[in-house]
């Protein structure tokens, strides 16, 4: 399986933030996603959208980063939505009952 470069890019739009996650979220880079979502979650955004249409792989630490970001966002009265997962990522989310 080809491994593609991992990237996390944030666009802030008023009270909302869109996080574009792309590439392969592997064990040696998943902390980048966790750190980003934790920071955004604590920044007081009303809505955080995690866009995953270009994410081709994620392991459990990355999934944990999404959960941690979600909890932090909720603690700060915000909402987080994960959108456009590929079939492989959707299957992972369903297996772990995160969707």
């Amino acid at each position: 399986m080809h491994e593609t470069p991992f990237a996390v890019n944030v666009e802030k739009r008023g009270d909302a933030a869109v996080v574009f996650v792309s590439g392969s979220c592997t064990m040696n880079v998943s902390k980048k996603l966790t750190d980003c979502l934790r920071e955004l979650g604590g920044a007081g955004h009303k809505l955080i959208v995690v866009e995953t249409s270009e994410l081709d792989f994620i392991e459990s630490s990355g999934l944990g980063g999404i959960v941690a970001g979600y909890l932090r966002t909720r603690m700060h009265k915000g909402e987080m939505r994960l959108v456009s997962p590929t079939p492989d990522i959707r299957r992972l989310l369903e297996m772990t009952r995160l969707v």
Partner: protein, 132 residues
């Protein structure tokens, strides 16, 4: 006969055996779904060895033994930690555990591979995927 690679307890260094195994998986003609499953299980097992077994100690090592054939992919991951009791790991899909950021690795390995067996008191995990 299993091949053996020993790497320092470092997540970047541990990419080496992963890449070698996945290259053999590709050479043997396994489909993309199978390669995804092997990659995911390897990442989970190696992360567990690094974090929970070797406690991120850079003086320790991770030993990876593997064989890729036309019929199956077989991998063993060994760490130098104290071991653990797999049955004591909480089910991450239960409602009371869904919000926990950690603890999904073993469940994912079991979901994607045919055999996930722990040995040596939890210091070794054996992974097998048969060709579909």
């Amino acid at each position: 006969m299993l091949k053996e690679i020993v790497v320092p307890n470092d997540l970047s260094a541990a990419k080496q055996p992963e890449q070698e195994i996945l290259a053999e998986v590709k050479t043997c003609g396994y489909c993309e779904n199978s390669a995804f499953a092997v990659k995911l299980a390897l990442e989970e097992a190696i992360t567990n060895a690094y974090r929970h077994g070797n406690k991120a100690d850079p003086s320790k090592t991770i030993r990876v033994c593997y064989e890729v054939t036309e019929e199956k992919v077989e991998i063993e991951i060994h760490d130098e930690g104290p071991g653990f009791v797999p049955e004591a790991v909480p089910d991450p899909t239960l409602p009371e555990n869904i919000d926990r950021p950690h603890g999904r690795g073993i469940m994912l390995m079991r979901a994607y591979l045919d055999v996930v067996e722990f040995g040596s008191g939890g210091k070794c995990v054996r992974l097998v995927m048969h060709r579909k």
